[in-house]
Subunit: 482 residues, 2 copies
Amino acid sequence: MKKNTKGISVKKNENFSEWFSEIVQKAELADLRYNVKGFLVFQPWSVLSMEKMYDYLEKILKKKGHNPYFFPTLIPESNLKKESTHVKGFAPEVFWVSEGSDTKLSERLALRPTSETAFYQMFALWIRSYKDLPFRTYQRANVFRYDTKATRPFLRSREFHWIETHCVFATEEDAMKQVGEDIETSKEVLHDIYGLPFMIFERPAWDKFPGASRTFAADVLNPDGKVIQQPSTHLISQEFSKAFNVSFRDRDGKEKYAFMTCYGPSISRIFASVVITHGDDKGLRFPWASAPKHVTIVPIENNEELTKKAETLKREIGDFAEVVIDLDWNKTPGEKFNYWEMKGIPVRIDLGMKELKSKKLSAFRRDLNKKEIIREKELMKYLKKVSVESGENLRKEADKTFSGKIKNAKNISEMKKILEEGGIARCGFCSVEKEGVKCAEVVEKEVGAEVRGTLLDEKTRAEKCVICGKKSEKVVYVAKAY
Amino acid sequence: MKKNTKGISVKKNENFSEWFSEIVQKAELADLRYNVKGFLVFQPWSVLSMEKMYDYLEKILKKKGHNPYFFPTLIPESNLKKESTHVKGFAPEVFWVSEGSDTKLSERLALRPTSETAFYQMFALWIRSYKDLPFRTYQRANVFRYDTKATRPFLRSREFHWIETHCVFATEEDAMKQVGEDIETSKEVLHDIYGLPFMIFERPAWDKFPGASRTFAADVLNPDGKVIQQPSTHLISQEFSKAFNVSFRDRDGKEKYAFMTCYGPSISRIFASVVITHGDDKGLRFPWASAPKHVTIVPIENNEELTKKAETLKREIGDFAEVVIDLDWNKTPGEKFNYWEMKGIPVRIDLGMKELKSKKLSAFRRDLNKKEIIREKELMKYLKKVSVESGENLRKEADKTFSGKIKNAKNISEMKKILEEGGIARCGFCSVEKEGVKCAEVVEKEVGAEVRGTLLDEKTRAEKCVICGKKSEKVVYVAKAY
């Protein structure tokens, strides 16, 4: 496949939507021409990065006591129907398998939209006593949603790649501790490693996961002012353990229903946020830990000595960094520079006869868009430094962009203004229980935005609901969303 | 979940089928009680091992120039129908998605039984010139087959976990080189790392992959004398590149159809062969590289000093080996020993006050079923030694069991006898092209066995076909198969 040597034609902050479409195509992240609506082909440059995300997350989950499973992709319709809120929430989004070869199946099978109803029936078989608890699982899986909203590569597609954890506890308190741990995991991975600033909201009653009693989710803010929901974690309602009979004999000899939690980081969506948050007008930028490859070596002329030198350097740093040598002689060095900047590789080393003789290397680092001259024998030390600094720099830059985006709105016109400027509005709200839904509908209709929820550790106070003017019970955050 | 402390009740060589069923259940490899026929829940002890297989294979494939993709799970029916042999072969095994929510889809979508017809339509878009070739891809995926044969955990189930590679070349010669490389990969992974002895056969014309012009597959022999097909690699027929218009402009300026290959190692099935080949009457045995965990430390009494010591040892070896400390005080030390032997952990360290004082450790290694006393400060050195030797010992033992299983059959009664004794029969055969199918049917009917194919480097000669007595064109191998 011919590498696309043309750069991004629009500025990220002027036309974010077009910028994102171009970068998906030109950096070869995904091909949208697959002939099933809402499905796409993930190409190596995104897959290599997503594989690293899977690795990190799975390692962290294992360390925190989760055991890995592979559950079937197919879930019988009767399982989905066992818990009424859940089926109401998911049934409109299910792809159904109804035939095997030419035979109509006796029961329709769902392509899993999420796997609670698969895991819970096994939990009922596996869990007997309080000694079996806590019971923590996860699986790496792809899930399917027949989503009728407009699909968008990585952000919203009909098949996506995620990890789902499902855990069982003896008490609600233990379950809520797990929810707290999941939120910590999101912070460790999304913010500390991938440099994504976000806020964790408890969602209002009308926006909970179908079947959850409480839902917490991370929202990342896009440059176009819309938020993207990242990992959410849920305290599952007891209706679920009752429906699936997930119970245990407690210390006191009594049979009790268990408390469950689930957590669902979507790898393809986290990747989208890395692209969106760190990318600039030249193309992608990756924190070292999520970069598909780390270093490219570009010999600037077709010359055996330079190629050999590139191979030697690659061998020397090969244990520490993933290296590509660019030997495409159909391109000028300038075209290659642009190409690798668009691809977001953290370090590019330009290799000419001058560098060979002087034993000094010219390194371009994408986090700072800056060329640095380093001594050849210090290359390894230099890369180790950049591997730490590049992530830090991108994170700091993102944190800086994000900060100041949250502003107080005392009325609906202030809210509108904040959202138009690409921010998140903070305001008083009558209720985040069912009673508040009417005011939320006003927000949606008049501002085209959503009440994203409340903070667990809210410090701001507000007297009145920004919509109805009644006494404000909660401080909520309002944003446009994907 | 309560750990099952009971051992395996039958001997592997006396009742292999029951032995395998018991080990799947008692070592908690998979739970077969999931309520969709032919689908199962893979539990942590198998998943941890399969994850390592994925890692190894993916690393090797990347090193050999394959790039990773995630393709959609769903393939439109029209894609499957484009190549007639392929659709004939797979249509009877397809699960069909025909509804999304309450809407009938305009076209049925197949749950991928294999992904040629998904990859090839994209190859047609991506490949333009000889400069784009060779083009090597792979994906880690689960595939689905509505298989009407009896399912069997890990060996044959309706959803299984594999890697599929799909490659494109300018010439048939290049494509055949890839087939050779795939065979090498099978050897590196299956034999050298997982210690599985096998033979590579070119399949007869009537047993080729639907749509292939040549099929090569690895057969591993089970203790019950049946062979299991392991990775197969295929030279795809040109009918396929024509049907999908996978063509390129060659150096001479002419537009030509490309040559394709594919290779499909099934991770869940390789795991089955590791279980079957290395297991003994006590339970599982794992080569270090495929062990779910490497070391268990068993404090033999509930005593803080011992638990602390176990933690210290775990920390010391934790970078090199994956360690479990068994603190289940509901079990006697003897029950724990049996449990970990059944689970096949390579090394068990029994820790009592005697060991603590003497600064010597008692280590049980599962490859040799032997206790060894080692000095505490030499633990790391010891584990490094066992990590190499355990794989070697299991491989040698397996090779020894396998050798001598192949015997020459001059007639059908000799063939029967060889197969009854759990061997593979070698004999002359009239033809492995279409003309030979009649004799193959006789073999199937009278001996209940299959002609598995020919060796590429066959050295044996045979005058006559073992069935029809005509001049023998080929030496073939006959075995019972799953």
